[in-house]
Amino acid sequence: MTATDTMPDAADRRSWAEWLDGHSGRIMVLPAVVVLLCFAIFPLIISAYLALSRFALASGGFTLKFIGLLNFRKLLVGSQQYHLLGKFGTFGFVQFALLALIAAGLFFLLARYLLRGRPTVVGTVGRLLVTSMAMGLAVLALATMAPGGVPGTVVNTLLYVFVGVSVQFALGLGLALLCGQPIRGRNFFRVLFFIPLMVTPVGIAYTFRMLADMQKGPFAPLVRAFGISEWSWATEAWSARLMVLVGDTWQWTPFMFIVLLAAIENQPRDQVEAARLDGANGFQIFRDITWPAIAPIAATVVLIRLIEAFKIIDLPNVLTGGGPGLATESMTLHSFISWRTQDLGGSAAIGYMLLFISTIVCVSFFNFVVRPARRFEA
């Protein structure tokens, strides 16, 4: 009797366990998908809606009115154009020469793809889109940085991303190569150089404000000796931007350094030794052995850094408050300021434009740099 009593129960439990096991894959992925749906996809769609509407406070709440692309129009050609894009200067010879150089480079890459490889429809359309966006951003950057021009938040962000990431990569690679030499105390340097990555960006901003204080900072005697203690970096556009870049570089060079050093330590030792025996010099070893070995990792590290660099807000917000004027304001900070002034639609529109630019830059970097670098290795 006892057997028949417990039988259905056991069968029940077994089928429940079987069901659980049969669907284990879905159950394991489900939490991640739900979290991302709630905090990424759902907000993205709402943001798209916000970007297309006008938000207004009304009695007892707020109203949302669908206005189409008016927010984008205001930002690109209307009253907010100065803030987002900046003021255009006059094109001189240097600007035209640089622009011609960039155009020639882009055209060369496009032509090479169309003539050499086997062009596909998707590949061609994608490249045309990327090329035209790169051209547009180049014109914008050159025009606003020309005499008489004022760069807007788009150009500021691009400056932080491209100049910042290149400098950080160069410094990180240099330090990693130095540390990769057969030296004593490598672990000491590794631990020490890693530290800035841990420091809160907000803290870094205040620290550099303290350091760069012309009257009571640690370099004040030096500044006094040069007789420029009346001058302040915060009142001039380019010195303020440089300050933001310095803080950013101080924080993120360690990231490049630590990964590249690990990659260098993993390079084929026997090849390096064989090359040394054959009398190869340091540069030849770097070019023929080290660089091919670390290129895929280097490309990936730069990609990760690119993705994060577009989101910069803490440093400019605390270091300079976006000023002087809007000289150091990034797109995220611009969007935040719009939000604070109750312009929700404008804020979402700026966010969407940042998403658009950063996605295209990161995806093209992945397709045109990271992938070839990996294939090169294989």
Partner: protein, 348 residues
């Protein structure tokens, strides 16, 4: 020929053996590395000693050495930690960072493991219909004032109907690599795009300015990193161990928790630390989602800019207590972090 004495120049510029550097190169290496050491140390040193200064020591020009050119005092420490409410934001930061990191690592590694070991086939049509219905719900609620409960029920019913009638006839499907790419690509999204709706969402749920809101949001933004790093750790462990356990009748969950997770312990430590530091330092989302009760340290630090200008001594105390624990933890576990990052970067 080998007995020929080497000239001074050759001795300086050529290495004595394969494994060493030439003297000149070695000196140059150490000089450059020492220079960067200064670049790293000076800002940290300045923050640290400024926290022992008072208004007088800061305003009357730079003093460099405690006990030598100024008398250190614990006044600022006493003011910030004992008399003020710094402890509360600190505890908020600790709770939010640790809880969100634990959640992100758990949810993320489960998903990563499943994506490495189990084959998925999701019909593209189902994804498309889901997104269309989600958009329809939002438009219906926002524009036409439909109650959101009704909209969700109707949409869910439509989705189920579509799942059984239309979706089965389509062929196009997304596989594991597509799902993985989608999860990881969420990291590209700048948080500023998502934060407005998240703010409104928590406002409606009356969860604004609570630790729950921050924990949930941080879990979500750090999830892509966890999946991206841990998937390579799981892909690196040999299959036979798990298979023999499965033949013995262990369920997938059991295999995951008792075999797979312990095998990638070192990688998990790296992932955990990295995400912990990101959550600890996060600023933008905390700025939106907290103001008094759930305020975290980065927001408190950035709010120190009073009308009389920041009080460097108090600020330095805050920055020191914020960075000290992460520096200590990461210096101890530094090897794990480097290896974890490397694995991620190799496979990507």
């Amino acid at each position: 020929m080998s007995t020929e004495p080497r000239s001074l120049a050759r001795r300086l510029f050529e290495p004595a053996s394969i494994d060493s550097q030439a003297p000149v190169a070695r000196v140059l290496t150490y000089v450059l590395l020492s220079l960067w050491t200064l670049v790293v140390v000076i800002p940290l040193y300045w923050v640290f000693i400024t926290s022992f200064k008072g208004p007088g020591e800061v305003d009357n020009g730079p003093f460099y050495l405690p006990f030598v050119d100024f008398a250190p005092s614990l006044q600022a420490w006493d003011f910030m930690l004992v008399q003020n409410y710094t402890l509360r934001p600190y505890m908020n930061s600790v709770v939010v960072a640790v809880a969100s990191t634990l959640l992100a690592v758990l949810i993320g590694s489960l998903a990563a493991y499943a994506l490495v070991r189990i084959r998925f086939q999701v019909k593209l049509a189902a994804v498309a219909i889901f997104l269309i219905l989600l958009t329809a719900i939002i438009v219906a609620v926002a524009t036409f004032g439909v109650r959101w409960e009704i909209a969700i029920v109707v949409a869910a019913a439509l989705f189920v109907i579509a799942l059984f009638t239309l979706v089965g006839r389509t062929k196009l499907a997304v596989g594991n690599s597509d799902i993985e790419f989608w999860i990881i690509s969420n990291r590209i999204m700048p948080p500023i795009v998502a934060v407005l709706p998240i703010y409104v969402m928590f406002q409606q749920m009356r969860l604004l300015d609570t630790q729950v809101a921050l924990i949930a949001t941080y879990t979500a933004i750090n999830l892509p990193i966890v999946v991206w790093l841990t998937r390579d750790f799981f892909a690196g462990i040999p299959l036979d161990l798990e298979e023999s356990a499965q033949i013995d009748g262990a369920s997938k969950f059991r295999v995951f928790f008792t075999i797979a997770l312990p095998l990638v312990r070192s990688g998990l430590v790296a992932t955990f630390l990295l995400v912990l530091i990101l959550a600890w330092n996060e600023y933008l989302l905390a700025l939106f989602l907290s103001n008094a009760d759930a305020q975290t340290m980065p927001v408190l630090v950035s709010a120190q800019n009073t009308t009389r200008g920041p009080q460097w001594w108090n600020m330095s105390v805050l920055i020191t207590v914020m960075i000290a624990p992460v520096i200590i933890i990461s210096s101890i576990l530094q090897k794990h972090i480097a290896r974890g990052l490397l694995v991620g970067a190799v496979k990507g």
